[in-house]
Symmetry: none
Subunit: 346 residues, 2 copies
């Protein structure tokens, strides 16, 4: 034990002069070569990352060339000697976001931190985050055509936007804003948006789900309807909500579909809805009597568009997952709760 220590101290004394005789070490104990390197690497990493020294300083300190330090640092990283941790709640969100982005091939995915205590504040985060994204688009002065879906999230996002004078932009709704009873939704997201920017507004004068097939046909052939659909087709990006399919579904609560229709969808294993198109858990549009009467633009149309969904919350997770699986989305703004649930389900 004591001899051991003596040896160690002697070794330490030697260490400073070691640079030029390293190979002596490794001739006598070849296995130590890599060890010594790793040791050096750790030292270099320490100086660089914690000490904040430049590679030149480290080089002169360690007695190697600057590229040598470069290689040591690369080695240290490659060997996983350097552990970086971001000490902030956002860190989790970022990790979740990039997982989702990579897995589903999204252009971007933003995950906002969810407050477990106050569910409403989480919704507000979502809105602000989405609003920022939208703001980036409408900020520019060249004319822009933007599509908007329905739903509380989209509404909230649009409301979180600040006023900017952009009369050259056009905003078009992808979903009919007429309820069964014929009443129009005065405060559609498109309305708010156009009010805030002074841009043009295009509303789909139709119910989400027509009463009959014939009614739908009549809608689709209307000149006005076609004109608006054309505008929608020109839009560069679309911000839409994702709906659940259950008793609390917006589609049902707002009387766009009847109770029996809801039951029919549930029977067909619908878990979510995009612009009124019901999706099964794999994200495929369910073909049924209801689907055939949906007046929204077909999802396939949006392949080339930048379709961004805004949705969050525990209960929405299955619906979001379905939409992702279907590959309909290019972007997603969600919250930590939903993101975590989705990642765990993968």
């Amino acid at each position: 034990m004591l001899a051991d220590r003596r040896l160690l101290v002697a070794g330490l004394a030697l260490y400073d002069a070691v640079m030029n005789v390293i190979y002596v070490f490794y001739v006598s104990r070849p296995m130590d070569k890599f060890e010594v390197k790793l040791d050096q690497a750790a030292r270099a990493a320490w100086m660089s990352y914690i000490g904040g020294m430049t590679q030149d300083e480290i080089a002169s300190q360690l007695g190697v060339s600057r590229p040598g330090v470069q290689r040591l640092l690369a080695l240290a990283r490659q060997e996983g000697l350097v552990k970086v941790h971001i000490d902030h709640p956002i860190s989790n969100c970022m990790a979740l976001g990039s997982t989702l982005r990579d897995y589903f091939g999204l252009t971007y995915c933003e995950v906002v931190p969810a407050d477990n205590h106050a569910a409403d504040s989480a919704a507000s985060y979502l809105a602000v985050a989405a609003a920022e994204r939208i703001a980036q688009l409408i900020e520019r002065s060249e004319p822009l055509t933007l599509s908007l879906g329905t739903g509380r999230s989209v509404r909230a996002a649009v409301e979180a936007l600040s006023r900017v004078e952009r009369p050259q932009h056009r905003f078009v709704s992808l979903v009919g804003n007429v309820a069964r009873d014929g009443s129009a939704n005065r405060y559609d997201a498109v309305m708010v948006m156009a009010d805030k920017t002074g841009g043009e507004r295009f509303l789909l004068p139709a119910p989400v789900v027509a009463e009959t097939l014939a009614e739908k046909e009549a809608m689709l052939t209307q000149r006005l309807f076609k004109a608006i659909a054309d505008v929608a087709r020109e839009s560069e990006a679309a911000f839409i909500g994702i709906g659940r399919i259950d008793r609390q579904a917006t589609l049902f609560q707002d009387h766009f579909i009847s109770e029996s229709e809801l039951d029919e969808l549930l029977g067909l294993k619908a878990v979510g809805e995009l612009l009124g198109w019901p999706l099964n858990r794999d994200g495929e549009v369910i073909d049924c009597s209801i689907t055939r009467r949906v007046t929204s633009l077909p999802l396939e149309r949006f392949g080339k568009h930048h379709m961004v969904a805004i949705a969050g919350g525990h209960e929405k997770a299955p619906a979001i997952l379905a939409a992702l699986r279907g590959g309909w989305l290019k972007g997603l703004v969600t919250d930590e709760v939903a993101a975590r649930q989705i990642v765990e389900a993968l």
Copy 2:
């Protein structure tokens, strides 16, 4: 004179209260802006350090300019959001550390690598290492009482800590923070600590060394002083510096003792100082006219505490050795230079 001091103490208490109010005010509302910034900073840091993105990519992602990202990253580092850990036992330091630990029966001893040329960067290593240790303690949510000494090392360690909301903790200074001339040290380590955590602060309203024995007696019997001393006694751990006794001694440089007093200590073979208590080379507290006027809590009191010293550097080695020999310490964070010198002196 005495009245003067009273006034001062009262003033200090008031000052403290005011600072607390200001702090709370600052935290509750206008901090929102700062919070958002930190969020952004954390995002940027994540993308940069974990995501491996370039600053240009991050800039376009976050919608700010590249220099903006630069500032965010700087903020993240400054606020301690970015924790870098080198996951490799650097053999030298490990060896030195375990030697010291075994020899002096310490609970732990951490030796950070130091470079002989740039002494200031060594101080930074020390700070980070010590900060990690402190962080482990304050991390927990049960109320904690922590003592802090003075000195640059302790200050730096506390500053290297990241912000954590821990209003339930209490921080108390073991050394008076009033200089001879009556001026109070506004940025005591305890202050910084409390600012970072939102915890309670307890400052010893006294000079380290009283002018006269009578003055010391007056201090010790003050209600406020006794109250704070009681809190200190309840603390579970103490992080303190180790002072040298020579022309460069902090105690002398900061006018806590006069030149003649310094000479007296040198004549009595003092080599170091712990909380103001001078030690000879065997670590025994030197009994002299000065010692009798020291207002800090007696070292014997800390027998059961977890007393950890933070000190490094060539010149501090004799003082550290003395403190170790005296058996006052349970833990030590030092640097390679000092550790090697101590090991060689054994």
